[in-house]
Symmetry: C2
Subunit: 356 residues, 2 copies
Amino acid sequence: MIPNLNIVPFVSVDNMMKLVLRVGIERFIAGLAEYVEEDFRRWETFDKTPRLASHSAEGVIELMPTSDGRTYGFKYVNGHPKNTREGRQTVTAFGVLADVGTGYPVLLSEMTILTALRTAATSAVAARHLAPRDAACMAIIGNGAQSEFQAVAFRALLGIRQLRLYDIDPAATRKCIRNLAGFGFDITPCQSAEEAVAGAQIVTTVTADKQYATILTDNMVGAGIHINAVGGDCPGKTELHRDILMRSDIFVEYPPQTRIEGEIQQLAPDHPVTELWQVITGAAPGRANPGQITLFDSVGFATEDFSALRYVRDQLAGTGLYEGLDMLADPDEPRDLFGMILRAAAPAPAKAPAGA
Amino acid sequence: MIPNLNIVPFVSVDNMMKLVLRVGIERFIAGLAEYVEEDFRRWETFDKTPRLASHSAEGVIELMPTSDGRTYGFKYVNGHPKNTREGRQTVTAFGVLADVGTGYPVLLSEMTILTALRTAATSAVAARHLAPRDAACMAIIGNGAQSEFQAVAFRALLGIRQLRLYDIDPAATRKCIRNLAGFGFDITPCQSAEEAVAGAQIVTTVTADKQYATILTDNMVGAGIHINAVGGDCPGKTELHRDILMRSDIFVEYPPQTRIEGEIQQLAPDHPVTELWQVITGAAPGRANPGQITLFDSVGFATEDFSALRYVRDQLAGTGLYEGLDMLADPDEPRDLFGMILRAAAPAPAKAPAGA
């Protein structure tokens, strides 16, 4: 979209918000979901590797690369639960797409907002294949930064109109209700997770503490529901009681990563799971009967970020919602990097006087 | 250096050139070399991992992360030898420093130029510990993009004043001579690698072909010299005949990476090598006697990029040679990412009229 080889389009936070609003949040998530599903469908073409994580006492910094052989992408993302106490985000992220043929980056984008959008889109893609067909009501346990994105994604892809919300902090639930006011939901705030789950065909758990927690216990989960477990996403962080996992058919993105980071870190390393891409391609069954409990143990995978960056790139043209970054050295003569520096010191050629 | 938590300082190619020129190329490399040596000296404090490479038919894209527990850094770098035929760089790079405590990026920088500077600085740091003490003359085989940086680094750190240059393309040698005109070298262009090596106490090999090549054969290498092998830096790419390696004491950055990428990929996986950091800390001997052939088998390691980014960060203050990138979402209320997007749609509050 920019002719100069050495200029990389950059989508700032401000421009990402403008792009999402221009497309419309619900339409943006729906469009992004199609890219996510398309990339799951061609799963076998991707280079896949568990994320490269650098853990510290306070959190984690991760690099998540992947490639489909033509385009390479990676995301930088941190997770620092204590950040909110200092006015920072728990999770921030940015990402890059590059051309495999030349190695040149072709897009740099904020991904804090984009990750929230792609996480919700992926949850809804999974639920489209796994949730009861007549699902009308979703419980959301944990009403923090990701909750509204989940609600809008499930409305866009599955037609969910009824929400039952619960958070240990009632202010979070009030914020969620306020933000979703214009989206046409029928919302019931609840006093407990148990109350929220009652009558819901889909249960989304999306809490944020970095610890083993038990958001759902076995007695709360009835037959036939779909559980969308989003919050457990790193070693030592889970949300569901082990007994629920034992009663569920479990679907995951990329087993080598989910075994370390997901709810199934509580289970034996050979506990059977189904890969989501196989359900999407039809190679494995999704929901087989109405009484079944399906569980999408979502931790987020590099291909989803790749899909999101692809979607953003394809929406950008003609919007002007990016800046060009002078990020790649572009000497006139590729072997003369040193000379390029020397020439930068030379005074610019004098301009002809006006009118000459 | 910028008060807003969510704004990341970005050093463009243009600003990097201005920064290098403001500091002075030779002084910049010398300063960077001190940071490189300092980080080798505290080698054991770093998280180390071989680079994460994505190979394709045309080249490679790599991520090189490391952390010292307080600061995290990574470099994105590609290697595409065919790029020069299309007016692109073989190697381009950018890098990021982040705060381990919060996970927030604190610097984004071009690294095409910076990698050239740090590679030369690292070579000179190694040679300061390994080369004959009275070295006055260096041969440079391969006079492409990295050659002048090597020359200036060896002048800055070892006082090298005589250069003997050879490249299969005489135009590259002429370019190198032209670029080094103002630096006070006594330069001899040569007709062959053998001629270039004659009389040199240090031999730097820095050719660019992605293949097994033999830039130096055994009969060309006399006793007592130091070989700085820079060009062989990926699987399948070497520059030196195996017989030279067998006669040399070999020093490397990070053995797990060098065994795959360096000259020593030609040798048995247990062939003895010495780690450079051990020489620098005094834990292992460097040059032990005048007749010894020392070989620095350099492939470039993540800590060197970390040192370079640290150096740039420390030089930036007060220069204004960076832009602030709106790269990290910064909602007023960290849990309200969705609301931040909604509020971006609202018209800005009307300003009070002038004079009111």
